[in-house]
Subunit: 895 residues, 2 copies
């Protein structure tokens, strides 16, 4: 025997428990070995050809020595069973199944009944039943021809249809033995015709063919696509499991089924699954006959049922997990064919986590329980999802999770009207702007034609927890409706008022009102997130992006430990827009002062509500950031208005002039943030004064306000030092005005966003004048890549991801190699400049699990995300902390 073997019997004694050897044995093989050798469950004997063999095959072809090892393993099976593979009189039949480290669609699944040929089929008929034997043989020929020999499957379907028509029957099951004999003959003929060679009669050749087919299927296009998308390494290879056949389709005392150790939908502690009498696994998949619920086994196969329940209990205690099994009953004898961790719904995941920690027989470790709850599980219980599918007429970017149904409204005003009449509304716009906000407020969902995941529509929808699909470029808005092109290429006209469904999880737009399931967190939600907070305490906190008191209240209810980003410009929208415009259009200092004073009054009230909602927790207020043109009409609109020849009022004329004045080629890199603050100092001073008045009011009311004033878009120390001076002046003035030291006791801090590459590079000197940093990773990503998110995300990103030019969308998950280096550098230099610098992240990445793990490693103190995302961020933060403590944060083994 060579030093290292390619083939391991299921009861091979390894140095480690087999379940830990999925890298070597594949997931399926590892668990078959675990059941066989550790748990000693009734598993049909077999062996696993390791992933190493596959890797060797993919590099250099069939590995030396593998044939001998397989022969030896088959001989061991023959000795154990007492029948010989390929024996013409009493044949041993084998199955071959793939089994990679992670289960993977697109790979060859199964070839059953290997060992049958023209002679052994007669013996099998003799030993069992002629119809059963012929049916098994014709299945083998068809399956083998398709997956091993590459004969198109339709050839066999046609042939079967012909025979059924001749026999005057409708289902395969109704075909008698004679008809099946004809099918066998025709199938053999078909193989000959398509391949120019006879179906291999030698069982050893059959086996080798099946094994090679499994190896080759690792490189099938579907498997490659899947691995690319799921980021599974391309060089893992798959194992191959060769196993003695058992027959659920042997007779009425036989059956096949799938069983979960608990209910994977609700998480309740009852066995769950179904089974089909006299059937093979593929019949269950085909869905021709309706399976019975598992409980019915109690009467149909009482002994097997009891044994199965007992096995479930042993499996759960052993794996300390919800398990998903496949089993077969052959003439009342139960055989276990597979076990793996069971997929579950969000609610079940939460219940299971708590139940398995509480159950003394399982006593799952709390950290491990926490790791098993995945972000998707929380999403599922927080947002409605569709429980049905419909005709997809367009696909955009999944911008804000959840399922929404409503009638199409093409303007914000129409949306308000329809909502007032009691209709559910989907607001459909080319793109949204602050002028659409009143329509978004009443909409169930938002759909836009243009824009990326950071577009106005996306950001606002996420902030409010409204499902949204953006950048659905296949849609064209026309008078009174829109057109869209379905997958079949047919263009559909969707008039305003039509009910549609949009899926903010998938980005799909569908016709009709699809049924939805409401997201409803179970009581265990808070238990699990409580564990998460314990893990994260003092290491990595989660704050929320919130602009108003109600937002902040909601965020706090979701567990946010403060507001990490209040975008003050959002307070200028809707009915306050005219006030801001008045300040922009002001031609004298007095005019500006009057307009600013009115804005200050409303901002003060907003800030007070925010500070009250987050009493005792920090509230980071970002001074005005966007370029002024965002508050003005578009150049295109005013050009149209002017060309139309209608006379303009003086005010319109002034507005048009201001629009032209503030128009920019690349507003993202233009007069915004601290630059605007420095050009129009009155704005920043007004905002700071309003915030300080709010702090004073909260202090007077006995509250504990913690205001953090954040200056956006700095490129170096000097800008921050200048504005910090102004803020200090305002603090002094407010302290005199209110007769108490407003900055005492940490009530006011002054910091900056790090969102230009230069700010990250110059972090050391910037930190000299900053109490805190907050990384704006959206802008940092835009500038580091030179990607305008609005422009690039829908147009270029799909191609870049499909071509493998980017491993993932850097606006969703932080680009560790590029942007990440700047973040790490910014953190290190910032702390070098000021050791006690507080550092957060307030970009969209603050709610992304993979990014959160990176930020923890970079040394960030907190992340901030939209309120609805806070629970997910809390969970992800805990996962990240646990992973850094040496507990690998892997997805469950069922991937």
């Amino acid at each position: 025997m060579p030093n290292r073997s390619y083939v391991y019997d299921f009861d091979h004694v390894h140095e480690l428990p087999p379940r830990e050897l999925a890298d070597l044995l594949g997931g399926k093989g590892a668990n078959l070995a675990e059941m066989t050798s550790v748990l000693q469950l009734p598993v049909p004997p077999g062996f696993t050809i390791s992933t190493e063999a596959c890797r060797a095959y993919l590099r250099h072809g069939w590995p030396d020595g593998l044939a001998e090892e397989v022969s030896a393993a088959v001989r061991r099976l023959e000795l154990r069973i007492g029948r010989r593979f390929g024996d013409p009189a009493e044949p041993l039949l084998l199955s071959v199944r793939s089994g990679a480290r992670f289960s993977m669609p697109g790979m060859m699944d199964t070839v059953l009944d290997l060992g049958l040929n023209d002679r052994s089929v007669q013996a099998l008929a003799h030993l069992t039943d002629r119809r059963f034997a012929l049916d098994s043989y014709r299945r083998l020929i068809g399956q083998y021809a398709r997956v091993v020999l590459g004969v198109p499957g339709e050839a066999f379907e046609t042939l079967l249809d012909d025979v059924k028509r001749q026999a005057g029957v409708r289902t395969d099951a109704a075909l008698g033995a004679d008809a099946l004999e004809a099918v066998v003959a025709a199938s053999l003929q078909t193989v000959q015709e398509h391949t120019g060679a006879a179906f291999p009669q030698d069982p050893a050749l059959q086996l080798r063919g099946a094994i090679e087919a499994v190896f080759r299927s690792w490189g099938s296009p579907r498997a490659v696509t899947y691995r690319t998308r799921e980021r599974i390494a391309a060089d893992l290879g798959t194992a191959v499991n060769v196993q003695v056949m058992v027959f659920g389709n042997r007779d009425a005392r036989s059956a096949t089924g799938v069983g979960f150790t608990r209910n994977p939908v609700t998480g309740s502690a009852e066995p769950y699954g179904d089974f089909l009498v006299n059937a093979q696994g593929e019949d269950v998949v085909a869905g021709i006959r309706r399976p019975q619920p598992l409980a019915a086994m109690q009467t149909a196969f009482p002994a097997a049922y009891d044994e199965l329940l007992s096995i479930f209990e042993r499996l759960e205690r052993h794996y300390r997990e919800l398990l998903d099994t496949e089993f077969t009953i052959e003439q009342d004898k139960l055989w276990m064919l597979q076990v793996r961790v069971g997929k579950r719904t969000g609610a079940a995941a939460l219940r299971l986590a708590v139940a398995m920690v509480d159950d003394p027989a399982i006593a799952l470790d709390q950290g491990e329980a926490l790791q098993r709850v995945r972000p998707e599980h929380l999403e599922a219980v927080l947002h409605p999802t569709f429980s049905a599918s419909g005709t997809v007429i367009a696909t955009g970017l999944a911008a804000s999770p959840g399922a929404a149904v409503g009638q199409v409204c093409l303007s914000a005003d129409a949306a308000v009207d329809a909502a007032e009449q009691g209709h559910d509304v989907i607001l459909v716009r080319a793109e949204t702007s602050p002028e659409d906000v009143h329509g978004m407020q009443v909409a169930r969902g938002v759909l836009t034609v243009r824009g990326g995941l950071a577009s106005h529509a996306a950001v606002v929808a996420r902030g409010w927890g409204i499902p949204a699909v953006v950048g659905a470029e296949g849609i064209e808005i026309r008078d009174g409706g829109f057109t869209a092109t379905a997958a079949d290429g047919v263009t559909v006209l969707v008039p305003e008022g039509t009910v549609i469904s949009i899926d903010g999880n998938s980005g799909e737009v569908m016709l009709d009102a699809l049924a939805t399931v409401v997201g409803e967190p179970p009581p265990e939600f808070d238990v699990v997130l409580g564990w998460a907070d314990e893990v994260c305490e003092g290491v990595l906190e989660v704050r929320a992006n919130a602009d108003t008191g109600p937002d902040a209240t909601r965020a706090r209810a979701f567990g946010a430990r403060g507001v990490g980003l209040c975008r003050t410009e959002h307070q200028f929208l809707g009915e306050r827009l005219p006030l801001l415009r008045r300040a922009i259009l002001a031609t004298t200092d007095d005019d500006e002062a009057v307009a600013l004073a009115e804005l200050a009054a409303v901002q003060r009230a907003d800030f007070e509500a925010l500070l009250a909602a987050m009493d005792g927790l920090p509230v980071t207020v970002r001074l005005l950031d966007p370029p002024l043109h965002e508050f003005l009409p578009s150049l295109e609109d005013i050009a149209g208005q002017e060309a139309s020849g209608q006379p303009l009022s003086d005010q319109e004329r002034a507005l048009h002039a201001a629009t032209r004045l503030w128009h920019e080629q690349n507003p993202m890199l233009g007069t915004r943030g601290v630059r605007l603050g420095i050009l129009r100092p009155g704005l920043y001073r007004m905002q700071v004064a309003a915030l300080l008045d709010a702090v004073a009011a909260r202090l007077a009311a006995g509250g504990r306000p913690m205001a953090e004033i954040m200056i956006p878009l700095v490129v170096g120390r000097e800008e921050l030092a200048l504005v910090r001076g102004w803020v200090q002046d305002e603090i002094d003035a407010a302290t005199r005005r209110h007769g108490r030291d407003l900055a005492a006791g940490g009530a006011v801090a002054i910091g900056t966003m790090i969102e230009t590459p230069r700010a990250a590079l110059r972090a050391a000197e910037i930190a000299e004048v900053a109490d805190f940093f907050s990384f704006g990773t959206n802008d940092l990503t835009q500038m580091t890549f030179g990607f305008s998110r609005d422009d690039v995300e829908s147009r270029i990103m799909p191609t870049y991801l499909a071509e493998g030019l980017l491993a993932h969308n850097p606006f969703e998950t932080i680009d560790v190699d590029g942007v990440g280096e700047l973040v790490s550098l910014g953190v290190a230099r910032g702390r070098a400049g000021r050791a006690d610098l507080a550092i957060g992240v307030c970009g969209e990445h603050g709610g992304d699990p993979a990014s959160i793990a990176f930020f923890l490693g970079a040394g960030v103190d907190y992340v901030s995300c939209s309120p609805f995302r806070v629970p997910i961020a809390r969970l992800a933060a805990a996962h990240a902390v646990l992973a850094r403590r040496g507990r690998p944060d892997t997805a469950p083994a069922d991937r």
Copy 2:
């Protein structure tokens, strides 16, 4: 005597030659000491109070011991001259002059005649002449009151005017002794009234007051502004020179003058300057009397003239420089009052450099001669300049150097018409686009209202050497002309056709046709640049940005060692625009192929001309970089056209649809560069094939083409690897097509621009698939700062520079601290990825001297700039190399 003294007599023996002690003695003091102690020229005795004393004064007030040192120094002067300071019978008079390391406007200049008072003026009158004595005293009182006591100068002017009116005379010189006595009395009265104290009669007090005034003037607003602009350190301080008075205004045998050792205008070897009989320096400055040319001294003061010429010769041999002197003749005795390096014109600088190297008596070192020629000198001989000044009606950014005069044309077509009629044209546009190029081609100068130094107008004008002023935001274009507001606040209407003058060196727009001086390099131009090339050989080369054969020919004539950037999009302008539009609008692959084939044909011809012009030198061809919308109408225009209600043709409709499709929020960060190349691969393949055909044609013609294919805007390795694969395919195809290996012998290289921050960070892996890098520092600066140059440069930059938020405009001189770190990092990582990587810079910084010095230090192999900038870059490169070889690259000492 303390260990370290504050006061040094002019003949003090220092450890170093005094001229090297300008840090301690100031420029003036160092040269006075050099003339006195080393050259032993006739200098009125005196002493210098060091800059250390000034620094001590500015920190802690009047320094301990300084008064005693000054007294001792005055006593030494008294002993030497034989008269006592403040002696009522035979007074010694002193002058006090400031003298910092660099000469600096805004600092106190001079107080003369210190030591005069009510008593000593009588003695002086007795010793010399009553009128002279009284005139000297009234000058002292006025000057002292103004600069030391802070009395407004007008008080004395009014007083003098009153006396002149009473006396019935018009000039000061016509006032007799009695009138001057009245002036003295009134002046003393004025001092009393304004300061509440009498004019100090104690000479020691006068002296101390004058010294303190010099110290204080270091902090005068004008001096501070000047230092900030010229980047002179704020803590240098100034020295004070105290010197025995000599009187050029004593009588007709006295005179004062300035003299250059050679002609500073032409550089020819003849003394140059002028003098005024019976006058003081301030009379020369006042310009009331017309001075005589220096040559006239030969007859007026023959002995002094001979002595002066002999001194000039000694000074030149000693300093090995063109010198600028001040002198006084008192009763036929010549006194040297100052010597410094003389300012010179560009032509003179070039001639002098060569002449002083060639002159065996001077034998200037070639490297030092090279360093004395400054970039401004070359600019002056390359571009026309205005020789007169006019009414400035607007100021924009100085975008392309030179002076231009012509009539205003508001459209490209109007410009072409006017030029065809033989008029000189200034094209005035809100901004320019490719559609204006035919108008720019015929214009003498270009003026735009919007846009920065990297705007289309600026880049094209620099490329063609046309003077341009851009971003003149005070201008408003109206029907038939434009309005502008002059400095006096008056708004001027400038109708189309009016002749204006624009100064591309200062950014000023002036009414009328101002006289210009044509730039004309003297023969020494090539000698000096030849020296520069010798210094740079193999260390740092200079290439040019050139898009056409004629551009490249011109660049080569200017000394470019290749083309560092051919912007292929420029080849799509003008009459070829419809071809490109056809490719953009193509709805079928066939349509696109036809349009691309036509473009390929014209590009091939362009490339062939470029390669021919640069035969044997590298030509870097950047594949299409700008976003497609640059070749389409503006959104504003099409909205206007649609709203106007005029029917649209099908073609217009398609054009409008394409405009909307390719419109982007932030095109600078949008679908451009390699991103566009990947979305529309046909474009890049066409360009590469066209270039390869040109290479083949050049090879067939026996030429030595060296094509470098440059992929713009990559963010990582993968994009470059993908496109490199396409390029390789095209090379293979072209090799088959032409029957010879086109890539052999270095005829084709493939590289990339490093212009996104991420590309700089990921340079190591990008270098694995690149033959060369070229840093696009314009875009790198835009992205690192988050500054859209078009938007920020005219709107924000002035404020940022004025407020000291940025030390300089980072688009003109590379931001060493931020962008520079990315460049250094990109170079180091790139070479780590591939040791023999060739690295260049093709951003605008490639022509900026300070940036060139940085690039040399970062390890760049070449810089590329516009053809007209090549000589300056060659010179700057040589300066940088010399500086790195330990030869400090300082401006001449006359700053």
